[in-house]
């Protein structure tokens, strides 16, 4: 078994406000091999973006606590690094692509300057070398006129093109891991398909591991091999895409899949939905958080927390999996 590109063990994040503790991410563990793409799926408020920010160590605000038994990139634990140590890793070994292309880039610097800065910051070499690799990165995401793009300011590009420059910035140092947090949500269909294509292409080219965060299962199916489903801060299912879509084991995953409207030639059946409401973070139900909305609930579901146990490679945190 080769060393996984990214290995996260028991990662937790919580808010501390005077006496109260609000758990946002609860004991998350997973790993991604080099060249693989894993989807982290869940509805808004389930903690997927918090997980990504915790992995990169970007949650240093007062009142937010992060703890884990190790976040390893290519076998090297980055959670115990000093801030200076972690800064050398961020952008070189692990990079992130954000959701809002409109605001993710600095408006008063050109695209070339910003991507070049990342390369130079990580000991990339002298001025010519930096410019060359910056232009290469832009060409690799599909820009034929890389020089024009490098000289332009973010506000001069469309949303889709800006997201492509973000991908160029992410891949300029050829990191081992890229975390993409809903990179296509703010874009319309045609640009979305284009961005996904670029990510898949670059992933194969550099054998990069991708953690793809999304609330849209259809997009995840398009780009990922494995998928992790999150609900109220916990991992409730870990399997590969084929199995998830054909035979989801956790009732919430199954419910989520049935909610997705399908495009079909003949008239689709009436839409199904998950009863009840997402519980607020301030009073999460005891035991399995999905119990109040689950039609397969048992006594033990309301008292103890089901562990994420695996059965031939497919895990579900449920006492009565489907």
């Amino acid at each position: 078994m080769s060393i996984p590109a990214l290995k996260v063990t028991n990662l937790s994040v919580w808010f501390e406000k005077d006496s109260e503790r609000l758990k946002v991410v609860d004991q998350i563990s997973f790993s991604i091999e080099a060249g693989d793409a894993t989807g982290l799926v869940g509805e808004s408020g389930c903690g997927k973006t918090m997980t990504a920010m915790a992995i990169l160590g970007l949650l240093s605000k007062p009142g937010i606590k992060v703890c884990s038994d190790g976040i390893e990139v290519n076998g090297r634990n980055i959670s115990t690094l000093t801030t200076a140590g972690r800064r050398s890793v961020l952008g070189r070994d692990i990079a992130m692509i954000f959701q809002q292309p409109a605001t993710a880039l600095d408006p008063v610097f050109t695209i070339g300057q910003q991507i070049g800065a990342v390369y130079r910051r990580h000991g990339g070499g002298d001025k010519q070398q930096t410019r060359k690799s910056m232009l290469e990165a832009l060409e690799s995401v599909g820009f034929r006129d890389a020089r024009d793009i490098a000289a332009s300011y973010p506000h001069e590009l469309s949303g889709g093109m800006r997201q492509l420059t973000m991908i160029a910035m992410a891949t300029v140092c050829k990191p081992a891991v890229i975390i993409a947090d809903e990179p296509t949500t703010a874009l319309d269909n045609s640009t979305r398909a284009l961005i996904l294509e670029r990510l898949k292409h670059l992933q194969k080219l550099h054998r990069t591991a991708i953690l793809f965060i999304s609330h849209d299962l259809a997009v995840v199916r398009h780009i990922c091999r494995d998928v992790l489903v999150m609900y109220c801060g916990r991992l409730i299912e870990s399997t590969d895409c084929q199995n998830l879509f054909s035979h989801a084991r956790h009732p919430y995953s199954a419910g989520l899949l049935s909610c997705i409207p399908q495009i079909s030639g003949e008239r689709p059946p009436a839409i199904k939905s998950i009863p009840g409401q997402l519980p607020p973070l301030t009073d999460l139900p005891v035991g399995c958080h999905f119990a109040p909305r689950c039609n397969r609930v048992e006594a033990q579901c309301r008292t103890s927390v089901p562990a994420l146990d695996y059965e031939n490679g497919r895990g579900a945190a449920c006492f009565r999996p489907l």
Binding site: G91, M96, V108
Partner: protein, 320 residues
């Protein structure tokens, strides 16, 4: 820098200047003190009054007198001061450098310190350093300018305190004497503006630090120094510039007014102070007009600097 954008900003200034001069004309001249009775003395006849009023030009049509006032401003022929008969323009030319020499160090120091403290407080927002700076600035904002001046004077200029600096006066002939006389007023100016400056710069910096592109930079390993001094500062240059450009006319006039009248420093402020207390109208008229023009110039220069700093501006030149 595209010229149409600049000309439009200049044109935008014209109505402002007209507005300022019109209001100052209205208050200072039209409704201003009527000097006919001073010139005539006791129980004059109707005829004498009419003749003096004609001499003073009070009976001319309103717009003509306003035009007259504008001409004076443009040609800087600002008439003669009532109190000492000296030409107003020569008074201003003599006293303006003094005011500038008095106000500039305090102005620069106040803004630089404010910017530094604001940056620190913003970077460590929520932590104890931020709370310390903020509560200190609240105290700074709560002390009135006059209280600071009198307090400093007691502490530094009287036998009841350290008695190191002069209570009044401005016998400046070299650097040593300049520092000797400017120290306490500058300290007063800094103390009174530091609170407001720090809070303003902190708010601007916090706003910039919480932007998405700063988070992107952190995610790509940018060091705090690079983040703060390259990205945050350049992005907040516009609000900072705007504040500095707009406070120039006020600090120069209002700031010096109090300092000079209290410390007896012969600058524009003292001249204005005496003009207010004695009702010396030509001087007030001139100072208001000039400040208005100075303000519009500051406004225009500020908009031009926008274009230089922020690439987005020149393209769309949005009307703020």
């Amino acid at each position: 820098m595209n010229v149409p954008y600049l000309t439009r900003r200049l044109l935008y200034g014209i109505p402002l200047v007209l507005g300022v001069t019109f209001i100052s004309f209205l208050l200072m001249v039209y409704f201003g003190p009527d000097k006919t009775y001073e010139l005539i003395g006791k129980n004059p006849t109707a005829e004498q009054i009419k003749e003096v009023r004609h001499a003073l030009g009070y009976d001319r049509p309103f717009l003509l007198r306003y035009g007259e006032y504008l001409r004076e401003l443009v040609t800087l022929d600002l008439g003669i001061s009532d109190s000492n008969g000296e030409r107003v323009s020569s008074i201003l030319i003599r006293t303006l450098p003094v005011s500038i020499a008095l106000v500039v160090p305090g102005f620069i120091l106040g803004n630089l310190l404010g910017l530094g403290l604001g940056l620190l407080a913003a970077w460590y927002r929520g932590r104890w350093l931020d709370k310390l700076v903020m509560s200190a600035s609240v105290v700074g904002m709560s002390i009135s300018f006059l209280v600071i001046i009198i307090g400093l004077q007691i502490l530094l200029c009287t036998p009841y305190g350290l008695n190191l600096f002069p209570v009044r006066g401005w016998q400046v002939h070299d650097i040593g004497s300049y520092l000797y006389y400017v120290a306490v007023p500058t300290l007063a100016l800094v103390l009174v503006t530091l609170g407001y400056n720090t809070r303003f710069y902190r708010a601007v910096m916090v706003d910039e630090i919480e932007r998405d592109h700063i988070r992107t930079l952190k995610a790509y390993g940018a060091s705090p120094v690079e983040l703060l001094f390259k990205h945050v500062l350049k992005n907040s240059l516009i609000p900072v510039l705007t504040r500095i450009m707009f406070s120039v006319p006020f600090v120069l006039i209002s700031g010096s007014l109090l300092l000079e009248s209290y410390f007896g420093i012969p600058g524009v402020g003292l001249v204005t102070f005496n003009a207010i207390t004695s009702g010396d109208q030509p001087i007030l008229k001139a100072v208001v007009g000039l400040t208005g023009v100075l303000f519009v110039v500051a406004l225009t220069v500020n908009d031009m600097l926008y274009g230089v700093v922020d690439p987005r501006v020149t393209k769309w030149a949005s009307k703020s």
